[in-house]
Symmetry: C2
Subunit: 340 residues, 2 copies
Amino acid sequence: MARGDERRVLLAHGGGGIMMRDLIAEVILRHIGNPTLARLEDAAVLAPQGSRLAFTTDAFVVKPIFFRGGDIGRLAVCGTVNDLAAMGARPLALSLAMVIEEGFRFADLERVLQSVAAAASEACVEVVTGDTKVVERGAADGLFLITAGIGAVPDGVFLSPTEVRPGDAVIASGTLGDHGIAILSERNGLEFETPVTSDVAPLADLAAHIVSAAPGGIHCMRDPTRGGAAAVLNEIASAAAVEIEIVESALPIRREVAAACDMLGFDPLYVPNEGRLIVFCGGEFAEACVARMRGHPLGPDAVLVGRARQGAPGRVVLRTRIGGSRIIAAPYGEQLPRIC
Amino acid sequence: MARGDERRVLLAHGGGGIMMRDLIAEVILRHIGNPTLARLEDAAVLAPQGSRLAFTTDAFVVKPIFFRGGDIGRLAVCGTVNDLAAMGARPLALSLAMVIEEGFRFADLERVLQSVAAAASEACVEVVTGDTKVVERGAADGLFLITAGIGAVPDGVFLSPTEVRPGDAVIASGTLGDHGIAILSERNGLEFETPVTSDVAPLADLAAHIVSAAPGGIHCMRDPTRGGAAAVLNEIASAAAVEIEIVESALPIRREVAAACDMLGFDPLYVPNEGRLIVFCGGEFAEACVARMRGHPLGPDAVLVGRARQGAPGRVVLRTRIGGSRIIAAPYGEQLPRIC
């Protein structure tokens, strides 16, 4: 298969024949190959240790597929790894399904697959099984990636919104809103003095680092993607039947993200992130947890942003800079389509 | 959420907010809910028995999404269950990701989800985790489903093309080409005296039934989807370095499928199936295996169709009705786009 920027994916590449096998062997395996995937069996066979498995899936339809700080390939790996990480699980294996629009450039496909490989390697996980479908022009928008992942949940780890108690600390692992603003900037051709870069990153190691710091003390973790931190906080406040108070002055928001949000009319609490964790831990573990996160390459800006309390179950309140308070409602519909 | 045929999916239903939660609670969980899925955690947590897991994924872009004998929902469950079944694995859990085009009818979504539920129940498996993305009009074609599945591989079961030996029998579990012709008929408005119905069915129970009949005697199983039986036979002939001879007069092909293939210029060996297994077993187990399959509701037409032999490694030969022989080449590109 000749390489070159002008080659494009054809319907025939999805047909289950020699052309598909060539695509798999010479493009897919070249970039993300490993002994398990290379068997090309109908399913990968694994021998996981431990008694509890986490299992998750995500579809990625981000537009554009390349953006400052990442691309759809990195996003697809990180999104699924982070869903496992949020459950306290160590990622064991990923699957990767691709829906490709006829005419998609090979060069772009290779770039995405390189990015899948790099992100998977960063997350210490492999793509072990996959599927490729090609649809005619106009039936999809370039490339959609769909990953699923399985992970091992360590004994004794049980993270869930229902574990959150009044008195729990709420910690953000880093700045909020970077991913969403990076995509919007790309999409709308916005330019800022300091360009905003997506935070997309695989969080399994950071999550394990936190959990091992305070076994039993960490009650719940979430990666705040669609709907941003506001969606996660509302979900947890409801599930745990607690009120959550967030302190506006403590929120880690980059100046350029805040400026973009002002200009575009967004609240950064509703803007998606792809490399951040919101962590709920027993209040007594808050300091240790923040310190632990700051000692990790993916958590230097970790900070305590609020607390759970009895109050009005299900409510999320922002204590504003001027001392007032404002309800952070659950997002309703779509603020930012195709952000991930 | 009001029900009615005229409600349509909006971009806002994919936004991670209350509208998405309503869609999940009132549409998705209503049809395919179970205690694990209903937790709506970032990942499902499972406690599988056994030491080896099979893991697989498939993307479904079939057009039209409703067809005689099934729909995209049934297809998505069966496709993934069958990939697990082909590895000898008992399905443990499925994930379901949906990419929905804005404007898709709620009524159709509900019909598809009902079908997912029915097929999953038939296969004794549950959808335990999922994701829903909505893209704008024109960015997808109605509905794409992407399933992943994990299954338990029983101790002692090791199925692989590399296990196939000269002398092995080749058995088809039923008639060939039904699914592809059913879709084509639907797509092209073809009408036959006896309409062709897709064979789409979950094969895990049939597969387990076969494997338990001759532990160690079953060497390899495949569900011949894209590229049909020809693709599977060529794949196995190459991997096992054997020649495979297929006997034309033994091939189970419905009269109406043969007629449609004649009319459309297709060879039924290249037409996809979604509820059939091609089984390779030691020659001495052939009769018992066929009998066992015929005793199962999904295998009444099971039949010995050929043998593996030394010959020319990687070659698949058809012994024709008139005593000649013809090479069955691996399919090259796309014969039937969006057939699954």
